[in-house]
Symmetry: none
Subunit: 246 residues, 2 copies
DNA sequence: ATGGCTATTATGTATATACATATTGAAACG
DNA sequence: CGTTTCAATATGTATATACATAATAGCCAT
């Protein structure tokens, strides 16, 4: 069966876009693991019955996005997910807590696999329905709850997350070790704690909290949406910039 | 004189890369302002003496990167910078307010020139005493107060700020137009409004607020420290990242 | 005027082709 | 046996060409 028949999902209709999203789906689903050699340009040319330039355009973009690595004479290979530098850019609660000199502890409160609701699709910016994993977790600093985490994982993009219980490892580090991210969006705001959050963080209802929501994409595919809620006294976000160019 | 002779900077040697970096340099330097129509593909084809495909590859990448916007039949245009968007979005309050479709109004509450106190020096990370300008301002969206601003300007670094009253123009845009920044640090947190902030923003004392503090340096010199306070319901910070690794 | 048709224009996508370049495996040589 | 050389291979870049598509300007007829 050719790739053409199983063809892609959404994407802007053009052939090189379809090739691109076919391949990135294979990578993100885990069907093609890191290190896997993806078909040569001339093979894809045959698969899709198109010119090499068209295939090349798709593969060049994948390389630019960091999903694959291309080597002359050898072929193109699925890359290992992003480096540590990028990991630091996405803040890791364990590291924050340990930087404070406190003992870190993680607890999973709830886990539910379900078909995406309309709300789920809005949060993940998904167009089509599909399986998602909903998680609720708590992160502790010493004895005190430090952050509450509410997370959705798009199982269409990261199928193997459906098999993980997340009892021992938090979903953040788990995902970072597996899925290369190509883009992230943060939304940051202040809220008054509702009863649920107040109970979880052991604070008064109505107390101010910092909410950080993050959406992550990998090569155009929504991967996860997470909302961290911190009690006001417990946390300050720090970000240092230099003016960027290019 | 052709672009070829003034040609590009660094970049990987290939022609489309050079075209790309020539153009992005024009844009980032401000030589081509937002809205400026960049040369048509066929003009660049002539400039660089290459095929349209080569020019197209460069322009397509620029469009994908968000630096330009392409419109059929009309040409390609410089977009309002997005790479700085994360920073500007945070700090040009006028733009934020107008993006909400509301009327922006600015008001200076207080202005005081003084020798830096110990607290001032801590906020600015100054080692030696010297003159500073302390400002307190309000930004309105429509009828409602939107953000409260408390600012220190290091007059040793920006002497001419001492002559400015800041009655008509807010210190943020004034500084941006004069002082190039080389580094900035943000601290973001949630607080409960104290009486002073509650009065200024017309909210209840104890209501949650988002606080964004920003320190800016220009060539190692501390320039300014500013604290913005937003009522919780009025504001969400948005920041989009791509991983920095190549 | 006004609505609709058509020609023009710039971009969007794709093809076939060509040559350059890096890398590898194997053959040729000392 | 080790080294050099060479040919094969996959990607990298560029060309000339073609047709599709979207937006606009101008024209025409009502």
């Amino acid at each position: 069966m050719s790739l053409i028949e199983t063809a892609a999902a959404e994407s802007g209709g053009s052939l090189h876009q379809r090739i691109l999203s076919d391949i990135s789906e294979k990578i993100l689903s885990g069907a093609w693991a890191p290190g896997h050699r993806i078909p040569f340009e001339h093979e894809l040319t045959a698969e899709y019955n198109c010119s090499r330039m068209t295939v090349n355009k798709a593969l060049s973009q994948l390389a630019k996005a960091g999903l694959i690595e291309r080597r002359r004479r050898s072929g193109s290979f699925v890359r290992r997910p992003q480096s540590q530098a990028a990991v630091l850019e996405i803040h890791d609660i364990r590291i924050e807590v340990e930087a404070l000199g406190l003992l870190y502890r993680y607890e999973r409160l709830a886990r539910l696999k379900r078909r995406s609701s309309a709300e789920d699709r809005a949060l993940l910016e998904l167009t089509a329905a599909g399986p998602v994993l909903a998680l609720e977790c708590l992160h502790f600093a010493g004895q005190r709850p430090f952050a509450h985490e509410q997370r959705l994982i798009n199982l269409t993009a990261v199928a193997e997350a459906g098999e993980e219980e997340f009892l021992e490892i938090a979903p953040g580090p788990w995902l970072i070790g597996r899925v290369p991210w190509s883009e992230a969006e943060h939304r940051i705001r202040a809220i008054a704690a509702d009863q649920h959050i107040a109970d979880a963080l052991d604070i008064e209802p109505g107390a101010p909290c910092l909410v950080v929501e993050r959406r992550t994409w990998s090569a155009e595919h929504p991967v996860t949406h997470v909302r961290f809620t911190y009690a006001a006294e417990s946390h300050t976000l720090v970000a240092r910039f230099k003016p960027s160019q290019g």
